[in-house]
């Protein structure tokens, strides 16, 4: 068990080191999500005021789009240098490789969210930080569920043709439950009167889907990745 986490952390550190040297993924993903927010701002702002309840959706769509882009790019980089094949040849638990990649993606998306969430709060005058713990839980659990499926699909599509189109095609329908829970949960927090029990219910749903998705991913990673 300790070995499992050592391997996972090692892979995450490798990804983060590559990233801190070039900062390619972080900067491009961040800029992309900011542009997404801007595009939505043009679509949903009437007479200088955002349409009611649009903020939660805008935030999550920006995160999901940025996540897809980051996932595709991460695994493209792996494919280019045949890193994934080398990792799979290493005598370690396959699920550990998955967890390592997942942690790397999560770290990257967390860094993007640290910028994008305050930006959305600022631009749309959204009281996102009234319940900081609930906001944090909703965002982190939602991102976890999205990246858990995304990492598995990103890794397995490395071998497939037309992978850049297929990743969002597969990823969005399957992660829609997570996105729904995230959007509705954040929307609850943005109401004038925060219904804490309702927000907790959405967090419960996120936990449910996170558990299901991570379990399924850990089980299927090994057979899917063996050629």
């Amino acid at each position: 068990m300790r070995r499992f986490f050592t391997v996972a952390l090692l892979i995450m550190r490798k990804d983060l080191r590559v990233e801190t040297r070039s900062r390619e993924l972080f900067l491009t993903t961040l800029f992309f999500s900011v542009s997404t927010v801007l595009v939505f701002a043009f679509g949903f702002v009437r007479d200088g005021r955002p349409v009611e309840n649009a903020v939660a959706g805008i935030l999550w769509i920006a995160i999901a789009f940025a996540g897809t882009l980051a996932l595709g790019r991460t695994f493209e980089r792996e494919r280019y240098h045949d890193v994934l094949r080398a990792l799979l040849l290493a005598p370690v638990d396959r699920p550990a490789i998955y967890v390592g990649k997942l942690l790397g993606i999560l770290a990257l998306l967390a860094a993007v969210e640290v910028v994008i969430v305050p930006l959305v709060a600022l631009l749309f005058q959204a009281p996102l930080f009234r319940q900081p713990i609930l906001t944090f839980l909703l965002l982190s659990l939602g991102t976890l569920g999205f990246s858990a499926v995304g990492t598995l699909f990103g890794a397995m599509l490395v071998r497939a043709r037309s992978r850049d189109v297929l990743l969002p095609v597969l990823l969005y329908p399957i992660t829609i439950p997570v996105i729904i829970a995230g959007v509705r949960g954040i929307a609850v927090l943005l109401q004038p009167e925060v219904d804490v029990a309702m927000a907790r219910a959405w967090i419960g749903m996120l936990v449910f889907f996170d558990v299901v998705f991570i379990t399924l991913s850990l089980w299927t990673f090994e057979p899917v990745m063996t050629e």
Binding site: A160, R161, L166, V169, P173, I176, P223
Partner: protein
């Protein structure tokens, strides 16, 4: 042999589909929705057949992933196609019913949204198999497992959230006059599913045989 099986398919399907409207016409009208409620007798069986197909697809995919049986992969792809066909029937008959009962074609409530999502997952599955290139069967099998995980959620969603869609409690509390036609259609749809799946598996087996012969000729 294939042709005999196929005529069996057509005969059984025809018997069920020809008799079904008669039974449905005999069934009593529902108090609030009236005539249009009779879409129920095709709508529910098509979704039931879709759920069964989705489960078979998921289980067959798991067997293929962990055991590597080729036949289960063929069953999985056949079931996935049938999920899409039955889902399409459900998705078309549903709005036609809703137009009269709720006054709108579509409601963005939990049941409808999740059912649409489930249907799209299996379309994504077929797209992956079609355009994923060699080795995509295994990747698609992983996708099918995630699709299957969504089925119980779609089923329960209507009881967990209060939506405009009738609950699953409707079916066990049906009066005998309504229960008969429903079960007739249900059995008909499930039979149709099994037989269509057999034909589709046969097609996949023949394709594999053809490919093998071509490969041998190449060598």
């Amino acid at each position: 042999m294939m042709h005999r099986m196929f005529s069996v398919v057509i005969v059984i399907a025809t018997i069920f589909f020809v008799c079904a409207p008669v039974f449905i016409a005999w069934a009593p009208y529902e108090s609030t929705m009236g005539l249009v409620q009779k879409i129920f007798y095709f709508h529910v069986p098509s979704w039931a057949a879709m759920f069964v197909a989705a489960f078979v697809c998921g289980i067959a995919s798991a067997v293929f992933l962990f055991r590597g049986r080729l036949i289960s992969d063929r069953i999985a792809v056949a079931s996935a196609e049938l999920v899409v066909v039955f889902g399409l029937i459900g998705l078309v008959s549903g709005p036609l019913w809703a137009r009269k009962a709720w006054g709108v074609w579509w409601q963005w409530d939990a049941r409808l949204t999740m059912a649409l999502v489930l249907w799209m997952i299996f379309i994504a599955y077929l797209l992956l198999r079609e355009y994923g290139g060699p080795g995509s069967e295994k990747l698609a099998a992983g996708v099918a497992l995630f699709g299957m995980a969504n089925v119980p959620f779609v089923y329960w969603s209507v009881n967990v959230w209060r939506t405009v869609h009738p609950t699953t409690n409707v079916v066990p509390t049906l009066v005998p006059g309504m229960r008969g036609p429903l079960w007739w259609s249900l059995v008909g749809f499930l039979l149709l599913y099994v037989l269509a799946m057999m034909a589709r598996v046969r097609l996949e087996t023949q394709r594999a045989a053809l490919e093998r012969i071509y490969r041998e000729l190449d060598d």
